[in-house]
């Protein structure tokens, strides 16, 4: 059964990556990142159940906490970015490339 969970986790993770890279909408990008975290969580829980060991569950708990703090930051970023550019296009936020 574990293998099935792991495969599901891998598939979800891959879908998350695809979404992360191919979408330009920052909200979708954010949700793809959350999907990645969830996929990892799923595999952790599956392993934990298989080993009958609760440490992995604690780890997932912490991951969820991190996801929560990430969510808080992301939300405020959305607000700031949208306020400045009036757009959700990730391609617009490219000041990392230096001046053109």
């Amino acid at each position: 059964m574990l293998k099935a969970y792991m495969i599901l986790s891998i598939l979800l993770f891959s879908i998350g990556i695809v979404g992360l890279i191919s979408r330009r909408n920052i909200i979708v990008i954010y949700m793809s990142i959350e999907l990645l975290l969830n996929a990892v969580n799923l595999s952790l829980i599956a392993i934990s159940a298989d080993l009958a060991e609760s440490s992995a569950q604690v780890m997932s708990l912490i991951i969820i906490a991190i996801a929560a703090s990430e969510a808080a930051l992301f939300m405020s970023l959305f607000v700031v970015l949208f306020r400045n550019r009036a757009s959700l296009d990730a391609n617009l936020f490219n000041i990392l490339g230096g001046k053109k």
């Binding site: 890279i21 990730a90 490219n94």
Partner: protein, 620 residues
């Protein structure tokens, strides 16, 4: 200070003094220059007579060691002067003729703006000429050899306002240097062949027997290349006619009497070497014969009085080389001796005419000139050059003809014979056109300073022949005995020699008569057509221009533009620009779009996975 050192240094000192005066006091009086110039050449002229006297009568050899030029390891090159018979003989005509031409030049160059400069160069030239003649080792000789070329360059381009004169000088020096290339290469090979004991002539000849015959042949040939350049033989003769751009005393001294004969002197100096390489001697003969013939042919269709004489010089030098090739070294030298007098005289007379007629040199414009004294002198010189007895060249040239006859190469002999006929033709053509004409042109007679040396030279031209009076007339060949050069046996039966002389003289007279019919008191010279092979000097200058000068310019351009700049520099620049462009391309990827960064990361991850999976496939 020994005699030779003073003889050598006197012209140098006077040259330097004149030079300094010229630089420091631009408005110095002319007589100051005259004084120093004549002092320098006069002192050495007198000393040369002294040296010649003792060498001839007392068989004395003058040696003077100055300093060590170079000493590397156990091998040293000394700056030593040595006047053996050959050297004294050279001095005997070089120094006095130089002095006479100096006197002449004080008249010729009178009131010239560059009077001082002229005499500085002139004395410098004599210095180098003495160095060439007196040097006891070939390297020092080479220094003199190059030095005379250099002063010749400076004097040809003396009137540098017309850049063509400068180009003529350039041409002379460059062509000479091609010869020097051969000369120096030969010296280097010779140097390396000598096991030990210094690089003096005597030591070279001592070691000749141990040397490789093949390398000796190469050395002999290369030496002759040097002689070709200096003595204007085929194919390196092109500079000599152009060299007439210099003032006439220069032509008289350098390009007739002294410098151009240095090649002959050098070959005679290396006579022991040439006696061991008969094939090179034959080449020398042929080159001399061809040069003589070619020059004589060209001279028959020239109009510039100085160019006629220049080609005549080349032709006479050809005679000397024929004799050298036939092994008659002292005969060649004797012809050189007489040639110095009559050719200098001819040039001086030509110079007097040019001065008198305001720098006109074309014989078509100079028809019927009225200069009786000059005419007399020129007539003597012309009769001498065409070898009419008893003028000096008769003896020297007939000795050459005799030697060639005995030597057995019919082709060379025939060429020599034709050349002497042509000589008679072009000389009498010039004389008849200049002096025998219906039209008359009056002019001032030349100053005494110009006439006096000419008279002396005229006397010498007439009587110098008796110094080497041939045995057939009861003489005893004084000069040949004195020189003591290793002549290859030249024994011609007296009857044959007399017959030769007779035939020669007869034909010469015939040719002169023909020329008289053709040119004296006629318009032939003006009406004659002016094209064809001979009148255009066989297109040799054009050929050289086409096949040597122009290609070098093209190659130069090709090297600079296409090889250096296009090929190499572009390759280097593009390798630098390549980095630049590469940077631009890579920078495109780094455009600040984080999504793309993630994509690159993904690429990396996927690649790593695939790679690992692939390389671990066996373990799985």
């Amino acid at each position: 200070m020994s005699v030779l050192a003073i003889l050598l240094l006197a012209p140098l000192v006077s040259a330097l003094l004149i030079f300094l005066i010229n630089i420091l006091f631009p408005y110095a009086k002319q007589y100051l220059y005259t004084f120093f110039a004549l002092m320098g050449s006069g002192v050495s002229g007198l000393l040369a007579l002294y040296v010649g006297y003792y060498s001839y009568f007392e068989k004395e050899v003058f040696i003077s060691h100055l300093f060590t030029w170079l000493s590397i390891g156990n091998f040293s090159i000394e700056v030593a002067l040595k006047a053996d018979a050959l050297g004294s003989f050279m001095l005997l005509f070089v120094a006095p003729v130089s002095f006479l031409i100096h006197i002449y030049a004080t008249g010729y160059m009178d009131k010239d703006k560059s009077y001082g400069r002229f005499f500085a160069y002139f004395n410098l030239f004599i210095f180098f000429m003495f160095l060439l003649v007196l040097a006891d080792n070939p390297i020092i000789m080479f220094i003199g050899w190059e030095g005379v070329g250099l002063t010749s360059y400076a004097l040809i381009g003396f009137y540098f306002k017309d850049i063509q004169n400068t180009y003529a000088g350039n041409k002379a020096f460059i062509v000479n240097r091609i010869g020097d290339f051969g000369f120096l290469s030969a010296l280097m090979l010779l140097f390396l062949e000598i096991p030990s004991g210094g690089f003096s002539f005597s030591n070279i000849f001592l070691n000749l027997a141990q040397m490789e015959p093949s390398s000796l042949t190469l050395i002999a040939f290369l030496l002759f290349v040097g002689a070709m350049g200096k003595s204007a033989q085929i194919p390196l003769f092109v500079w000599l006619p152009d060299a007439m751009a210099g003032p006439t005393p220069v032509s008289a001294l350098i390009h007739a009497a002294t410098m151009v004969t240095a090649g002959v002197y050098m070959v005679a100096r290396f006579a022991p070497l040439y006696n061991m390489t008969p094939e090179i001697s034959l080449i020398i003969s042929y080159v001399g014969a061809l040069s003589a013939l070619l020059a004589a042919l060209i001279a028959t269709r020239q109009y510039d009085i100085k160019k006629i004489l220049a080609y005549s010089t080349m032709s006479q030098l050809g005679f000397m080389f024929m004799a050298l090739g036939a092994g008659a070294y002292s005969t060649a030298l004797f012809h050189m001796f007489t040639h110095a007098f009559f050719k200098a005289l001819l040039f001086m007379a030509a110079g007097a005419i040019i001065v008198a007629y305001h720098h006109k040199q074309d014989i078509r414009e100079l028809r019927g000139i009225q200069l009786p004294k000059i005419f007399k002198m020129m007539a003597i010189a012309s009769l001498t050059i065409v070898a009419i007895p008893p003028f000096s060249a008769f003896f020297s040239k007939d000795a050459i003809m005799g030697a060639l006859f005995v030597n057995g190469h019919v082709g060379i002999f025939m060429m020599a014979f034709v050349t002497s006929m042509l000589t008679a033709y072009y000389m009498s053509r010039m004389m008849f056109v200049l002096f025998f004409s219906k039209s008359k042109q009056e002019a001032m007679e030349s100053p005494k300073s110009m006439l006096f040396p000419m008279m002396l030279l005229a006397i010498l031209s007439v009587f110098a022949g008796f110094l080497n009076f041939p045995e057939v007339f009861g003489g005893n060949m004084h000069i040949s005995h004195w020189l003591g050069l290793p002549d290859r046996a030249v024994l011609i039966p007296h009857a044959k020699e007399l017959a030769l002389m007779g035939i020669n003289t007869f034909f010469v007279l015939l040719v002169i008569y023909n020329a008289y019919r053709k040119y004296a008191y006629t318009e032939t010279i003006v009406t004659q057509h002016n094209d064809g092979l001979v009148a255009n000097k066989f297109y040799i200058d054009a050929l050289y221009q086409r096949f040597i000068v122009a290609p070098i310019a093209i190659i130069s351009h090709f090297f600079e533009k296409w090889v250096s700049q296009f090929l190499i520099d572009n390759a280097i620049n593009w390798s630098a620009f390549g980095y630049f462009k590469l940077g631009e391309i890579v920078a495109k990827a780094e455009n600040g779009n984080v999504r793309l960064y993630a994509l690159y990361m993904l690429f990396g991850v996927v690649f790593g996975f695939v790679y690992l999976y692939w390389s671990l496939r066996g373990a799985l």
